[in-house]
Subunit: 272 residues, 3 copies
Amino acid sequence: MRPIITLTTDFGTRDGYVGIMKGVMLSICPDGQCIDITHEIPPQNITAAALVLESASPFFPPGTVHLVVVDPGVGTNRRPLALITPSACYVGPDNGVLSLVWRAARHCWSPDEIRAVELNEPSFWLPQISATFHGRDIFAPVAAHLACGVASERLGTPLTNLTMLPLEEPAWEGPERLCGRVLFVDHFGNGVTSLTRDHLERLTPPSDHPFPSGLRVTVGEAGSPTAPHLPLCLPVRTTYADVAPGEAVALIGGTGRLEIAQCNGNAAAPGG
Amino acid sequence: MRPIITLTTDFGTRDGYVGIMKGVMLSICPDGQCIDITHEIPPQNITAAALVLESASPFFPPGTVHLVVVDPGVGTNRRPLALITPSACYVGPDNGVLSLVWRAARHCWSPDEIRAVELNEPSFWLPQISATFHGRDIFAPVAAHLACGVASERLGTPLTNLTMLPLEEPAWEGPERLCGRVLFVDHFGNGVTSLTRDHLERLTPPSDHPFPSGLRVTVGEAGSPTAPHLPLCLPVRTTYADVAPGEAVALIGGTGRLEIAQCNGNAAAPGG
Amino acid sequence: MRPIITLTTDFGTRDGYVGIMKGVMLSICPDGQCIDITHEIPPQNITAAALVLESASPFFPPGTVHLVVVDPGVGTNRRPLALITPSACYVGPDNGVLSLVWRAARHCWSPDEIRAVELNEPSFWLPQISATFHGRDIFAPVAAHLACGVASERLGTPLTNLTMLPLEEPAWEGPERLCGRVLFVDHFGNGVTSLTRDHLERLTPPSDHPFPSGLRVTVGEAGSPTAPHLPLCLPVRTTYADVAPGEAVALIGGTGRLEIAQCNGNAAAPGG
């Protein structure tokens, strides 16, 4: 079976930087299979990359190596990092970009089944290290060596604490009310929120309104002069098609998070 | 030989949804080879997806599985569909997106060589089916099973009629005149029309004007206040370089359709 | 080991043209592995494609075939070309797009180790040649045949002189001063210049200002009414983080060229 290496970056696809990293990896691990998750993380947006990786990586086969390069601190003393769990390996800078998969792994596995390594063993890097492109010089070679079966212990020194993202948890305002926020807007204009299916199931619904039909989502705050249509109060539905075209809808989207969408439209577009 | 699975969607490449589908497919068919046709179908534009698939799929090796997810009706009772011909398999929603390859297959093969299946056998899907992401939950797993050699009969119930696109055929206005329209504008700004080489060859040319040099294309209608340069009357040429840079030209493009282009320019740009 | 074929085009990723070329190549070389370098070369920008290819190709394994289709002269008598060196093969139109890798190869290898071939042997093309899509009809099939081990002599007639790009070399204004220009602006808004690390090392630094800290870059010319902040005089630094966020910086970027960047920002953005 050919080892899989996924790529998640903020490099865009215009400049050849992604192709260069694949060239480096295939030089080390000729049998590797490179799969793009996305290269359109908003530049230097560590949170967006962490969320994409958290939602995508569970769908890959065991043993997949996930390379993540969103690295505003490249060239400083932020540590390069590998994280190894029984189901996957992750390689990237220790700036919080791996903190959500780390947290998820700690829910799934016992501490001694997870290993974090500071990548400080240069024999697994390219011979020459630039100050600005560690994706090519350090992270891609290490990902390729992991894909080829190099033991993670050889890549550097064990780490016990990782840099965590300061992601705020949704706030409970009593057992019937939970306050989250839109984390990002996806390609279809759907607003993906910090509220998961799990959060919604923990809400105490009023007895005459079982989940999901009785649950209502209030979007935005009153009194904004630029958004006079807010707050918007929406029922939680099952599919986009549960409301008329053009109408707003709240539902649990494909990644398990509550989304604010517009049937056959773009909820984020002006006038949408 | 490694099975090929192509992907055509309106997902964009920003959110990781395409990567997730590839992870699902490689989990089922580790030997599969994923090739992107495009993920930039305009959101929910079934016609655009059907046209891209029709023009691209003939260039792939026999046995290729083509996965198409442009699915505004996801979560409703539109049927999930697989189409199997002697040269390829197609998997997608039964909303017209497969109707052009279906029509093309019926020109090439006898009816008993083509098979359409409603995908209603959940044992070939992911264990959990969301209401909004059948690309991941139904279509990708089925495509991967087909690529791995699962017989199409096992995937569900035979279908005899598919949902067809209401694509208008070019209108004959006498044997010397045919009226079509621009179907879409490509990346280079070329307007790709509903008129094919085949249509043009069926025109009766005036005897002193053999095809293609004598054929003229009239673009647009007179009297538009916003486009006073219309109608534009163009000769049909062989290559972009047959006219001076900046000049408009009509020619048979790479996909076999008449295109309205501008030499070294963008025919769709303002002022172009 | 599976042969690698890289792709560099100005096709964009919207229309399926890239997928079609991959289908053609996998039909000829089923074992091939297609790796995108970029499809977002600005339309018909031969220089941009030549620069991307020059910077990316050294990172691929020996024997990689690089397919480049930026071809404004398609359908004219510009020659289709293959270039074979001991480390790689290149296939594309003879319009200058291969001239930088050709020049680099002549620095590395002796003349008899490099071979250029005019592709004029139609038995290695698709049976039908369109006037507008030689990427599909000529270049992709030839690249696939090369990847599969067809000897380059069989593909056509030897060539001795290639079309070269009229790239101006940086101008020396005395041993301490060198004048180059911004060649292109990358995805992060960094201006990549014609000045390489090699050029900078050949500068005679004033004795009290050793490279790199003593070197200063002057950006722009005085007296422009639309850019009153120019000229900007910048020190050359090692990393983006050597200056405060928002501040401009000059450094040797990942491709070995001097770049004008902005720490945590976009140097090319208005106000940036």
